[in-house]
Subunit: 462 residues, 2 copies
Amino acid sequence: MSAQDMKKEIPYKIYISENDMPKAWYNLRADMKNKPAPLLNPETLQPMTYDDLRPVFCDELIKQELDDTTPYIEIPDEIRSFYKMYRPAPLVRAYCLEEKLQTPAKIYYKFEGNNTSGSHKLNSAIAQAYYAKKQGLDGVTTETGAGQWGTALSMACAYLGLDCRVYMVKVSYEQKPFRREVMRTYGAQVTPSPSETTEVGRAILAKHPGTGGSLGCAISEAVEAAGNLGNYRYVLGSVLNQVMLHQSIIGLETKIAMDQYGIKPDIIIGCAGGGSNLGGLIAPFMGEKLRGEADYRFIAVEPASCPSFTRGKFAYDYCDTGMICPLAKMHTLGSGFIPAPNHSGGLRYHGMNPILSQLYHEGYMEATTVKQTEVFEAAEYFARVEGILPAPESSHAIRVAMDEAIKCRETGEEKTILFGLTGTGYFDMVAYEKFNNGAMTDYIPGDEDLAVGFAGLPEVNL
Amino acid sequence: MSAQDMKKEIPYKIYISENDMPKAWYNLRADMKNKPAPLLNPETLQPMTYDDLRPVFCDELIKQELDDTTPYIEIPDEIRSFYKMYRPAPLVRAYCLEEKLQTPAKIYYKFEGNNTSGSHKLNSAIAQAYYAKKQGLDGVTTETGAGQWGTALSMACAYLGLDCRVYMVKVSYEQKPFRREVMRTYGAQVTPSPSETTEVGRAILAKHPGTGGSLGCAISEAVEAAGNLGNYRYVLGSVLNQVMLHQSIIGLETKIAMDQYGIKPDIIIGCAGGGSNLGGLIAPFMGEKLRGEADYRFIAVEPASCPSFTRGKFAYDYCDTGMICPLAKMHTLGSGFIPAPNHSGGLRYHGMNPILSQLYHEGYMEATTVKQTEVFEAAEYFARVEGILPAPESSHAIRVAMDEAIKCRETGEEKTILFGLTGTGYFDMVAYEKFNNGAMTDYIPGDEDLAVGFAGLPEVNL
């Protein structure tokens, strides 16, 4: 069949019907022979139980966090209704990109940016807010760095009538006033962190009066605030297994759309920060691979400045720099590792989701790094050709997808490439401006930088 | 049929298939008994001919501008391919809004914000850029105020490999650096206006060294620049009949989607600045009304601060404050009218598209005004309930749609309300911040303010 004929068959954008949308999330752990290691209590270094976790997290979400055997978990009706407001997300055939690259490869991307939070984060935000509401809580607390997660959670809480308190890293709070205003428009209370509202915050302010804050500190404040407020719990936008469960909606929709058109991807590519998008996108495909039903090549793309997979260790580590959250066994650069100020805030995290870490450890997926100037070159190229201004995070996947498509041009192979386009870059124009002005630089940590992080890894004997 | 059953039948979002997308634009003028009056030459005050217009506009676009008899004009394949990158736009059933308002009304909106320009402007930008390219031009020039049109044109030009020069009102250039960067990312050359690059600009700068510029001045600079650059033409994002022709894609898609589900709107509502979105949305429905095939109630919503329909005169006037562009017969506040700094930059224009002006004059449609604090109240409500953060311009339509739905709650009528949601408010957070802080005020011009504009209306004897 000629390329022209294919064009007639496969539309530019595949929207599955609302009736075909998934009715259950897929829990990849159920198909893993070697389950991800359990979370550990930061004080005792022993596996955390349901009861250990209850003071911090919502009950139903703890169950999901600990459940590594149930393959499908039903999506409640209320969440499915909310999903229908902005989903299904389109699976886009990148005809224009293919043509410009003159590649025989077929390129598809799942676009998660068509909602006001601007990313896939909303998929888990509504789920977490729903279970909090159902438990009868008054509200939830969280932290946000770049602001996508905070925005998504604000939207979900506004919809459900739940109070939302966001601790936003102070430097972001000041540099990204627009993100802050979106959250306020959705009724969230946004506090620059560190703040005077918590003990942790006051202690840090006393020690470092002029500090711009950090994600680690904001997490600690949000956790403490949930406790102080009473009928509140803390929620988190990435890294945790429950988040990956909710994000499986991305991969499930993609698979349904592809199956409807008889498309089978050869390579599946996603950017990797905490792993929520990558894990969600690949989940059902990885499930097939684990069950021996199909084979795919999976590529995780991380920034050269924060290479948890490619240069990290597979070890137990703290999820936060404050060391008050549970420990997870994961690929990590150490909770004391300080990533350079790369513009992809969503990928600036020292660790990686435990499920993905386990799978990478066992060789089920690959990982690669890209430098941020290469990433912005790809982002700009993509924006001009496909019309969507991508988030810097998402553009890591674009870069590698383009590279793979160019390889196909050289070898003549007609591979089918799928990547996750997690969101839009409308609130990242400071970074684009730097790139447009030729003022962007790259950061690659030296071994001595990594050594600092590794030195802080806890000793765990289980 | 119960409301619950209806929900099952009509999805949250209706996407027509790419094969069902319109293959021709609809030219409403063909169905008008009384055609809109011709454009006049600003020097001779005589009707402009094709040859008169050639130095400024692209040839094919002039033909479209002057054609008031051909009902359907084919959309070239290349434009249809581009449309498929971001269209069809969803027709959304606002189930959540209906529920929150407890109204028996059925509310639909056509959402044009799912593209990087953030609005419907891209529909005409790609058409205008395409004809410029086809004519063998090197590039196009234009002006932009808030930045939507400039962004849309930059995207279209980047796609076609056409040079794009945007004169951006200086105060916007400085206050909206992110909009400017999006345009630069798409390769456009953005110049703050007034500038030293044109005679007009230099003259204004000499007279008013510290001026923040105006749309009228930016238009004059863009027109002059097109002439100076040689193989360039000037293009415009609203007001002209050709723009309304291209924007008919909005209404055509809406009608196709509604027909597929047997939906007939009772009321159709759109915000009105220059008229491009309103005219595009209502075109095929108004065509039916003009041909006596169906009846609809049309409501144009304009800001109380710039009431061209409701308080303007139906008269010949200049399209620009510089008085170098052709004159159009339209509802106008006078080209010398200075609108208050309302946050809906896209509605801050003294005149109105001649087609819509004629139809309003003959009683085929209604118009109403709303104050901007009422508009932002509606915008915030809508954002929380429907998940989309709307542009301030679009929120004018939301306000009136909500008001009509609330009337239905009171009367019990099950009216079907359709409105145009022209775009997103991601670059309007300064306005939202003002609203969130309770610092937003309303502007209603007094009769003496209007008298200033009316005093400048030219005398035309035809």
